[in-house]
């Protein structure tokens, strides 16, 4: 059974179509990535999913039931981590988690245990009596997450949880998400950081202009495009003749040279690196470090939309 089912969702802001006939099904146990640049409609989709926003058209089901603002039986199994840190500045770390957990778990004894676990999980044990304004950006994000997951939800929605977070906290957050998934939660993770999606998501939807452009595992998405690999190498000097010769090699789909760095993009094919090296030796071109890179989701996005993911 699909944990989340969105059918033909349309959300307009005046003339602007923020979500455009969007369809999605998320299965239990997935870490589902919703990837797209800023303004692509990810957060709007999430807000519609949670019945926070009204929408023009479409059907939304969670756990097989229609989602409405008063679907309290559904809401009790959802954890939400908003893009903006949603905590009370006047309450301490412990009090914030306790308060938000209290909206889901009224029993004091049970809640106390859950709050302690959430504090431990988020690595906030040393900061339990701190007020949010005393926390660093990373710790604040971790508090935001702890407030959203303390009640042990079955479905956790994280909307850009790592914006403006230091690498250490980011890793901690990503590891935490995987741990929550291992504990049985289905995760929806929206971001414009493709590395994060590649690192943790089992399935990914690429969004732009409110539309679902592509859907699949990261390998499936990469298989959709022609690009096989990109080879980069340090070249002291590259003549026009050599550059043109490289373009004639099999599977080459692009050549660029900038500030001593040669970039050659190949479509799928074998022995691309060997052929390139042979060519450079033959042309007596001196080269240094060589780096081969497989296609990224940014390449997928670039090929589908014609623009970079972070444009």
């Amino acid at each position: 059974m699909a944990v989340v089912k969105i059918e033909n969702l349309v959300k307009r802001y005046g003339d602007l179509v923020a979500v455009d006939h969007f369809n999605l099904e998320i299965e239990e146990g997935e870490i589902f990535g919703l990837l797209g640049p800023n303004g692509s409609g990810k957060s709007t989709t999430i807000h519609c999913l949670l019945s926070l926003l009204s929408y023009d058209k479409g059907d939304i089901e969670i756990f097989g039931r229609k989602m409405t603002p008063t679907s309290y039986d559904i809401k009790k199994d959802i954890g939400i981590i908003m893009q903006n840190v949603a905590v009370f500045q006047e309450l301490t770390v412990y009090e914030n988690i306790d308060y938000f957990c209290g909206l889901y778990v009224p029993q004091k004894g049970q809640r106390k245990k859950l709050v302690e676990e959430a504090i431990e999980f988020a690595g906030l044990s040393e900061f339990r009596k701190f007020y949010p304004k005393k926390l660093s950006g990373g710790l604040l994000r971790r508090l935001n997450i702890a407030c959203g997951i303390a009640h042990k939800p079955k479905l956790i929605i994280l909307d850009e949880p790592t914006v403006a977070v230091d690498p250490q906290s980011r890793n901690k957050i990503l590891e935490g998400i995987q741990e929550l998934n291992r504990q049985g939660a289905t995760i929806i993770y929206t971001t414009h950081y493709m590395e994060e999606v590649e690192q943790i998501c089992t399935r990914i939807a690429i969004m732009d202009k409110g539309r679902n452009l592509a859907l699949g595992t990261k390998d499936e998405l990469k298989a959709m495009i022609d690009l096989g690999e990109t080879i980069q190498m340090e070249v002291m000097e590259l003549s026009e003749e050599v550059s043109d010769a490289i373009r004639t090699l099999p599977h080459v789909i692009g050549v660029s040279y900038d500030k001593g760095l040669l970039k050659v993009r190949f479509s799928k094919g074998k022995h691309n690196l060997l052929r390139l090296l042979d060519m450079l030796k033959e042309k007596e071109t001196v080269f240094g470090n060589i780096h081969s890179e497989l296609p990224t989701l940014n390449d997928v996005f670039l090929e589908i939309t014609g623009k970079e993911l972070r444009d």
Partner: protein, 377 residues
Amino acid sequence: MIHIKYRMKTMLRQKSLIFWSLAFPLILGMMFYFMFGGINDLEQFQEVPVGILRGDSLPEEFVTMLKEVKTEGDIPLFQVKTYDTLYKAEKALQSEKIYGIIQSKDDLSLTVKSSDSYSSLIKTFLDQYRENTALITEMAEKNPDQVAAFVTDMAAGAQAKIAEIPLKGTDKDPYAQYFYALIAMTCLIGTMVGMHNGNDIQADLTAVGARRNVAPTPKLRQVLYDFTATYILYCVIVAVVTGVCVFVYGQDFGQNAGLVLLGGWIGSFTSLAIGEVIAVFIKGPVQKKEGICVAVFMISSFLAGLQWGDITFIIEEKCPVINRINPGTLIVNGFKSLSVYGDSRRYMINMVTLAVIGIICVIISVLKLRRVRYESI
């Protein structure tokens, strides 16, 4: 209980809110205390000076009654001063040596400088006299043989009544209204607290609001939790301010202290509800709503006489409906009904009106909030 506990903590830890709700009224009260303290001591109540004109054909029995009527404490109610000319009398009125000029023209006329409690006292006396005179005239026409007995009975009753009516309340201090307005203002600052309540439950206004909207605790319940928490807190604040006015600033609310406190609590309820309405119905950023709340409680306090005591009398003459619906005036008038006029019915009318305004505000904000899905976040 957890929701109420944390909501109270949230409010208590907002220093600016506590300053405006508690410290500011206390500081203002201190200023009143130093400005007006000792000016009007009830123990030193003195007769109200009234002017009449020499040679005016005022009824003799009226002048006698004017001179002889006394308070329950056996203090003469009026000090009758006789002037040779109207010009001199008016000059005395302007310089507040007298509070009214009574003349025989037009079946007894009263000239006052302004509408204050002293002029009200003189007017009440005149009205009572006119009413009694009319009754005697009517009796003389219908039952002339019983007039003598009737006059004797009525004279005794009227004497007591006239002395009683204006002094039924226990507080004749004209500056007391500033303290009433101060308590009213304390209540009205609750609009800011109510507005915070309203903001923190709306997903399109605050991130916290968004998180609370997706929780399984129904929004109506969350609104009531917030309201209850802040109302309890505000009841304590009003009690503290009232207590400081009584015990520190020496403002004597007499036997009505309990009802003054009750009035403050009803006023707080209504103010919180008005703040909630502002948060729910006014579109725009939090700063805009804060500005509107400040405007609401400042204007309401001004119209209730916080800055200028005579404003309520002027409004009563020009546009009385404002005094009937302005929460600040309703609170102040409620207090004055008790302390100045000793009229518990008027107090009740003011308090019930205030409570009804509050209940209407709560109902419309709840109706607006429940089941809402936002257009944009």
